[in-house]
């Protein structure tokens, strides 16, 4: 009945064991964080209250996890049914990405033992972007779980429940499009209140949510291409370049839109000159822009778009571009005031590595045990 099947095969492969090792190092430092406090393992300080745990684990990782969102948009809103085979692995990756983003938010939470305070309506401050992000991400994790539930139910053979779920799934899919639109834009809005601390080249104020949303969609489509390419290279699946090239075409529009808004804002806000006069920030801006422009050039060429390798390069460039856009704004060119500096400590990085390793391990296990990847009968 399903067009998806479990990949099967050994779970304890060499890459898996390698990831386990990284994960265990991460667990060691995470245990330290939960016994001695954040100061013990991180370089967070008075000026840089948000380090890589927020900027990578939450802001970037959830953008990486926008594959499910981007595809849901394409498949269900714009009715591009041909991409349907890509949905389920993308939803799985999104679920894992968001779940670990949520976990990242938890261990970054200074007062983790009363995390529930944010869920108590009496506490809600409706002026807070963070409130929107927190509640919306939490809800979306539940929605993603429901969106992915059919894979589990199929595996367990729970047909009744599956049927019932399928009947209302459209509602969850609609929510699954709405919620990321809300919180991915809000992740950009977080920057508005930081005011002068965000470098003028990245402080676009009212346009923060739009730029964040566009770049999240770009990263979402990129991650789908990236995952599909990985399954071709890693799991020996057949190349799906013909399908992916269509996604590339959609991404062109998003890239053009992003760059237009980005530069138009700079011109309208009178900051165009800063592109070349801001020293290190200029370099980062140009590097970031190059990472957006290069994939645009690749994807504009129909011949290159058909080649899996070019698609993969474009996708990785866009992922790096989106990552850099966020890192630049939140950390690299972020300047709280004279004298502050921040670079993550080794334990801090290892905790993030551990989380990423766990995410990859979970993905490997799930595609092997659950019907996630599309079967190839009609590919």
């Amino acid at each position: 009945m399903s067009q998806h099947q479990a990949l099967g095969g050994r779970i304890l492969t060499k890459p898996f064991l390698f990831l386990t090792a990284i994960f265990l190092v991460g667990v060691y430092f995470m245990a330290q964080r939960f016994t001695s406090g954040m100061g013990e393992v991180s370089n967070l300080n008075g000026g840089y209250a948000w380090g890589i745990w927020v900027v990578y684990d939450v802001v970037v990782a959830t953008a990486f996890a926008c594959g499910g969102y981007a595809l849901a948009f394409a498949v269900y809103v714009f009715n591009k049914g041909q991409y349907h085979p890509l949905v389920r692995p993308a939803v799985l990756a999104s679920l894992l990405g968001y779940a670990l983003g949520g976990f990242g938010a938890f261990f970054d939470m200074g007062r983790f033992w009363q995390f529930y305070e944010i869920f108590l309506p009496g506490n809600w401050n409706f002026n807070s972007v963070m409130l929107e992000v927190g509640l919306c991400v939490a809800t979306y994790i539940i929605i993603l779980t429901l969106e992915f539930a059919p894979a589990l139910l199929e595996r367990l053979g729970m047909k009744g429940l599956l049927k019932a779920l399928n009947k209302v799934l459209f509602l969850f899919i609609a929510l699954g499009v709405l919620l990321p639109t809300m919180h991915q834009s809000s992740l950009g809005s977080l920057l508005i209140a930081m005011g002068h601390k965000v470098h003028p080249l990245w402080q676009t104020l009212q346009l923060q949510p739009l730029l964040a949303l566009l770049s999240a969609l770009i990263m979402g489509f990129s991650i789908v291409v990236f995952e599909a390419s990985t399954s071709v290279v890693g799991f020996g699946k057949k190349s799906e370049s013909h399908l992916l090239s269509g996604l590339g075409k959609i991404t062109v529009g998003l890239l053009v839109g992003f760059l237009l808004v980005r530069f138009a804002t700079l011109i309208l806000q009178g900051k165009f000159g800063l592109i070349f006069s801001s020293g290190f920030a200029s370099f980062m801006f140009l590097l970031e822009t190059a990472l957006f422009v290069v994939p645009l050039l690749i994807l504009l060429s129909p011949a290159k778009r058909e080649r899996g390798s070019q698609l993969l390069i474009a996708a990785v460039a866009m992922l790096l571009a989106g990552t850099l856009y966020r890192f630049d704004a939140f950390l690299i060119t972020f300047s709280p005031g004279p004298g502050f500096s921040y670079f993550p400590s080794a334990p801090e990085i290892m905790i993030t590595f551990g989380v990423v390793a766990f995410e990859l391990m979970a993905y490997l296990v799930m595609v092997k045990l659950l019907p996630v990847l599309h079967s190839e009968q009609h590919a």
Binding site: G110, F126, S185, S189
Partner: protein, 324 residues
């Protein structure tokens, strides 16, 4: 209606509402009716750090010891253990006080108690609150989740998290009016203003402090002025001093909507580490965006309705096509 048209209408409507909302973003907040605050006059500060010591005493905070080098409290900046610190600006030979070149001066770092506080605006759990009457910005760790958005949302990097404690909390100056201390409610002044021997830190109603600050900037350098100590509205004593060359700028009168703790100086404020702020508060811009997008959840509701309709149509198509 065709699906495509419906979609267009929904998206268009969403965009229109969003744009109109952005246009009517809220202005800066106004000072509280009975706002209290402090005036820090850098030219009066002698660097005795009595205010730092008193602050630690009132807030029951330990000294910050810098290695084994000293047994004195040697806090270098605000931290989870320090709510108030006196810093020095030095240039070149640092010969003359209150001179920018080859001079030096002291600067107080503590919560500015913004009129339109960023920390209050960004806090998801209402753990940061601006008192309606006094304008004092207080912190309530009982509902705080430790997301530290207040730290990044504060233009002055004032709220500080106790990173070195497992069960740490955000710490900031609450103008000695926190529960259990309540000096302002009890008719007292802040600890730092009380001990300041020169009146460099002056407590009082914001209006009166602003008037006093303006009066000082209008004085002629070299004249003598009778400087009040303690509470500007009922000083416990005065002392005479030569008037320095004040900058014609009261920091906190207008910056990002103004602050209840204002600063006067003879050295330009950017040298003293004050941030580059305009008159508009970042909080008001952020809230403008947030409210136009999420007011009464109207936009998300419309969007959800549209999306549900479209997704339902499309999944139904898929079912008919047997392609789910």
């Amino acid at each position: 209606m065709k699906r495509r048209d419906f979609l267009k209408a929904t998206l268009g409507g969403t965009a229109a509402v969003a744009c109109s909302g952005v246009a009517e973003a809220r202005p800066n907040l106004e000072p509280a009716d009975n706002a209290v605050g402090m005036l820090f006059d850098s030219t009066l500060c002698i660097g005795c750090k009595a205010c730092v010591a008193k602050c630690k005493e009132v807030n029951e905070m330990p000294p910050v010891i810098d290695g084994d080098a000293t047994t004195w409290d040697s806090a270098r900046d605000l931290s989870g253990d320090t709510l108030n610190v006196i810093k020095v600006y030095r240039d070149g030979e640092a010969e003359v006080k209150d001179r920018e070149e080859n001079g030096f001066c002291f600067e107080k770092r503590s919560c500015m108690h913004c009129v339109d506080p960023g920390c209050v605006s960004v806090c998801p759990c209402t753990a940061m609150r601006r008192d309606e009457k006094t304008g004092i910005v207080s912190h309530h760790p009982d509902v705080c989740i430790g997301c530290r958005n207040c730290m990044v949302g504060c233009p002055y990097n004032v709220p500080q998290f106790q990173y070195n404690e497992l069960f740490g909390q955000i710490q900031k100056c609450q103008m000695c009016n926190q529960a259990g201390v309540g000096r302002i409610d009890n008719g007292q002044m802040t600890g730092c203003a009380e001990v300041c021997p020169t009146g460099a830190t002056l407590f009082g109603p914001r209006d009166a402090l602003l008037a006093e600050a303006k009066r000082r900037t209008e004085l002629k350098p070299g004249e003598t002025y009778n400087y009040p100590r303690g509470d500007v509205s009922k000083p416990y004593s005065h002392h005479e001093k030569r008037v320095p060359e004040y900058l014609q700028h009261v920091w906190g009168e207008k910056e990002a909507g103004g602050t209840n703790v204002m600063h006067l100086s003879a050295v330009s404020f950017d040298k003293l580490g004050m941030p580059p702020l305009g008159e508009r508060s970042a909080a008001s811009i952020a809230e403008g965006v947030q409210h136009s997008l999420y007011n009464f959840m109207a936009l998300p509701a419309i969007a959800l309705a549209g999306l549900t309709y479209v997704v339902k149509r499309n999944t139904d198509d898929d079912d008919k096509g047997g392609d789910a």
